[in-house]
Symmetry: C2
Subunit: 631 residues, 2 copies
């Protein structure tokens, strides 16, 4: 299908928007009238520019408050339409979006609406133009697609058809399933927008909180499937009003928009297949199916020799064993349980460049996947950037894609005994034995700039078929932190994404110390939290100190005996319990050199969260630490 | 009354909050439990710190989900209460806020609730403590003050009383008037918060959008008046959950909080007087009444000699006359109609310091006022900072206060002929004649950092008794701009305040060029826009160019003949019409050296706005200008 986007969805001047839209790979563009009004050149210049960029002008929008207008205004409104028809012809587009009348004095008589729409269609049709009629969710009398289709059918004019917009239907909890019964050729245009589910006025919600498909919580595949089933094969266009998008870099944002359409197409194709609706090949995007993910194979820190020595020492105090040295590079491997940590201090490497840009930081993570090549092909189909590093003799080349922050995501298949990447690339020390009982990486939390969250969510959802939990809001002493966790289908991979719009929170400090986004904390799970913490404490791991007042409150909230409570307090172990009785025990380390930190946790009874109830006390303790480091 | 604030209203650690609260001049503080939980010391240390700072701990809060809890939890909940009573005694406060149960399984039987509340009161009373019961707007069964008072009265225990919170009542459009019938001694505590009126879920609204009294849109005086009438004389405390406040500098924000309480007290005093309710003197804040304001007497730009020469040239092209030279300082006066513009290039002056900090900018504005000394006294009563500059021989000392950005607001009384400040301080040129017909300053628009808006609104509302219009949202090509206009009671002074949370809008550029907030545009009104613009154009004033597409759209929207439209377009005049037929004609200049700009406007038929419909086209034209200046 033709992939299109409304200019209102992006930031910048009209020429900047068109450039970004073309660069992202869209086929068409809806011209939002105000963008044209603010443009200093003639409409025909925009026509030419679009032609040069290979963009069809799929729609001119909106034309407001026509049908059912006060009778003394009808003639004036027809004049207004005629002027806009002139403009459309200069632009070289034949379709205009007419949205349902919102004026308090609009008339609602059905026959009158039908007559008005037919009259407008006659005027348009006489000039070879077409009218697409759309229901606004806050229209005075018309606010559902069912009403629109009813009026269009009664008006019965070839130049009059239906425009469907996912937000206007789904925001009112409308049922789109019967759209399949509209003849496809009477649907003139389809606009798609997602949104988080918010309990607020629908007009405000629509104007400020729309987002690209897959970034919100609406069932857009459920909306698009009956449209495809109807036979509609026209443009699929994004129309997103979003305060953040108005200010976001337009190239990056347009690329996200295109990716979101591909994602929607894939989900819709799957939905239609489930419903046994046949669709010709090539209509909807069909990338290789997602691979199965099974945890983190390794993580890689960019370091230099000195930092590597200190971080290695930290990790050994956490119970890791020095397991091997790379055959040809300044790269070390530390291991414990199922956890592999690579410290990369190799000059002239990707890691070195990353280190130069961001300082000591996580520069790569390897995901365990059942078919690495298929996973890479899928990622590339979704416009992911593949990465090829320098590969030495006898080294394995590992497929990789770049994450939105430029770090790497390696894709690694399980290997038989002696066949692993560690066996091929490292001189392993067979006698190395981990001192601790940490088992695997439970989750890795990222700090992102506030405007980056939606982009990351879409990246993981589309390339890797992850899902996203609902957003959680957490109080730092110096502002709010918002967190949204991504997880792989089997939940073996979990990535909480954290943002903050304030300047002095832990997240803001992480961002400024990394000069960019990045992993700011890694959680390891274990089978016996007290054994691990005892060992770590004795080994000199600096654990984050938790105030006694926290434990006094635990005592008030739960039935712990005093001895157990004082054990929790002594080891700075935090506690949470979910509604089903699942339990979480967890401790945090202080940050390594003011940067990333580690968590040791034990889940019991199916606890699936991240201890959100304890994040505020952790953030407060970290703020105190920053303050004392600063003083 | 005792003035108090909840720690949750401010940013920072608990000790930082207490410092800020004391510095602002509060008498007391509500300790929000989580602030204590996150504090690393013992509760008795907080008790001592408050004592050292002269702060009473007026309340410990909240204690949740007690009354009507599931019967199997009652005993555990009493244990929980006992532990919090221990904590309160260590803190040295006798009052705890118990908020209405929000659990889905909470019981609603009236007698059971009464019994539970009495039981809790008995336990508290036995230890010399008191229970204040408050209705949350989203309580499961109890969500109005009427229910709370009914239950408290039935429970009938001396250690049980009512806590009132303005937000919980006003958010549900509750009627507070009958509060006057509660015996004052049964009201144990009063919490005040304002909020903008938002059509959204009340819990989200409460948690993120509360603000200080006077910053929002609720009738807080209407809430407090019946409380005072009831005989309540206990603490008046601010409890504000606000995302911005969580990150705002706590000293400044606490000072705003205290000012908001003073403002609320004054408004309540006036309200009670209107209702003929007698209140003993000293109970409510009683500053000198606001003076009458009558427009801008002069504005003063901080310049150096070179900038002054260039800006003077600009102003003369705009029709201003060189009217005088200061008797002893490097200060010039330009005049036209009722407009006086001072260009101050004096070294070792306030203006010079301002120039050093902000570059060429408006450093002072003088308001015409009927009683300058009373206005100054009122400003100081509201904790405004008075300013005294260097006064030369034979010069007039003009009362002044500092605006929140450090610029000056002079207060000037009308003077008889030959008695003005210009007569005393300047050598006036009696032959100076303005070439143009600009009449007066219609409005001055300020660019503020986003987090500063509420503070400025409160400053003008309290010190000068201005009112604030509703917020308007305006699209810049690179993000949204929000605008809220202040006006004096007779609307002779109008100050639109503009903010933007995005980095590349016109407002963001103004802020970065000033290194702080400031006036970024001054509008002059006139009786004949075309005469003025013709003159300005001929004199070489660079007018902001408006795209032809804007005029094509005007043609579609209004019944103008082509000749008039082409005149509008030729002179780059923008047009707006309000619902009552009032009309605005206005043109903008390009910015002076990339900084502030001027507007010439003509209002007809009572048009009272600022041309919001045209701001987007102006912002787009300015963005284009910045882009071409940058390229």
């Amino acid at each position: 299908m033709q992939r299109s986007i409304a200019t209102v969805s992006l930031s910048g001047t009209l020429p900047e928007k068109l450039e970004a839209i073309a660069a992202a790979g869209f086929d068409g563009v809806e011209i939002f009238e105000n963008d044209l009004l603010h443009y200093a050149g003639a409409p025909r210049e925009i026509r030419q520019r679009c032609a040069d960029l290979g963009l069809a002008i799929t729609l001119f929008q909106p034309f407001r408050d026509f049908e059912g207008c006060r009778r003394d205004r009808l003639h004036k409104n027809l004049d207004r339409a005629a002027r806009k028809f002139d403009l459309m012809q200069e632009l070289g587009t034949d379709l205009v979006l007419v949205c349902s009348n919102v004026q308090p004095d609009a008339l609602g008589d059905e026959q009158l609406l039908v007559d008005d729409l037919r009259l407008l269609a006659e005027h348009a049709g006489a000039r070879g133009l077409r009218i697409g009629y759309e229901a606004l969710a806050w229209g005075r009398h018309v606010n559902t697609w069912q009403q629109v289709w009813h009026l269009v059918r009664k008006a019965d004019h070839p130049a009059l058809g239906v425009i469907l917009d996912s937000f206007h239907t789904l925001s009112l909890k409308g049922d789109p399933s019967a759209i399949r019964d509209i003849p496809g050729e009477k649907i003139f245009f389809v606009q798609m927008a997602d949104a988080p589910i918010l309990a607020m006025d629908v007009l405000e919600w629509s104007r400020h909180f729309r987002c690209f498909p897959g970034q919100g919580e609406m069932d857009l595949a459920g909306f698009l499937a009956p449209i495809i089933a109807s036979g509609y094969r026209g443009p699929l266009s994004l129309e997103v009003f979003n305060d953040g998008f108005r200010a976001a870099p337009s190239r990056q944002n347009a690329a996200d928009g295109l990716r979101s359409l591909l994602y929607l197409e894939e989900k819709t194709r799957v939905r239609l297949a489930e419903q046994a609706v046949a669709v010709e090949p090539g209509v909807l995007f069909a990338p290789p199916a997602a691979s199965r993910y099974d945890g983190v194979e390794f993580v890689e820190f960019a370091v230099d020799d000195a930092v590597g020595a200190r971080l290695g020492g930290w990790l050994k105090r956490l119970g890791f064993a020095e397991a091997g040295q790379h055959r040809s590079k300044a790269v070390r491997l530390l291991r414990q349980g199922d956890i592999n940590i690579v410290l990369n201090a190799e000059p002239y490497s990707f890691a070195h460049n990353f280190y130069e840009a961001h300082g000591p930081s996580l520069c790569a993570a390897a995901l365990r996947v059942d078919d690495a090549q298929a996973a890479l092909q899928r990622a590339m189909a979704y416009r992911g950037q593949p990465f090829r590093g320098l590969v030495g003799p006898n080294e394995r080349e590992i497929p990789a894609v770049r994450a939105p922050d430029g770090s790497l995501i390696y894709l690694v298949e399980p290997a038989g005994a002696g066949q692993s990447i560690y066996d091929s690339d490292f001189c392993l020390d067979p006698s190395a034995t981990a001192a601790g009982g940490l088992q695997r990486i439970d989750h890795m939390a990222l700090a992102l700039p506030a405007e980056g969250l939606d982009s990351w969510v879409l990246f993981y959802k589309s390339l890797f078929d992850f899902t996203a939990d609902d957003e959680v809001v957490l109080p730092d002493p110096y502002g709010l932190v918002k967190s949204r966790a991504l997880r792989s289908p089997c939940a073996t991979l979990r990535l909480p994404l954290n943002i903050s719009e304030n300047r002095n929170t832990a997240i803001a400090h992480a961002l400024s110390s990394y000069r960019g986004s990045g992993v700011h904390h890694i959680a390891f799970d274990c089978a016996d939290i007290f054994a691990e913490v005892t060992r770590a404490k004795e080994a000199g791991v600096p654990l984050l100190e938790i105030p006694m007042n926290y434990y006094d409150d635990l005592a008030a909230r739960f039935e712990f005996d005093d001895e157990f409570l004082s054990e929790l307090a002594y080891y700075n172990v935090l506690y949470d319990r979910d509604a089903q009785g699942g339990e979480l025990f967890h401790v945090y380390t202080e940050p390594f050199e003011g940067r990333f930190f580690f968590e040791i946790l034990q889940r019991k009874g199916g606890y699936a969260g991240y201890g959100a109830a304890n994040v505020a006390v952790r953030l407060a303790a970290m703020a105190k630490l920053r303050a004392s480091a600063g003083s």
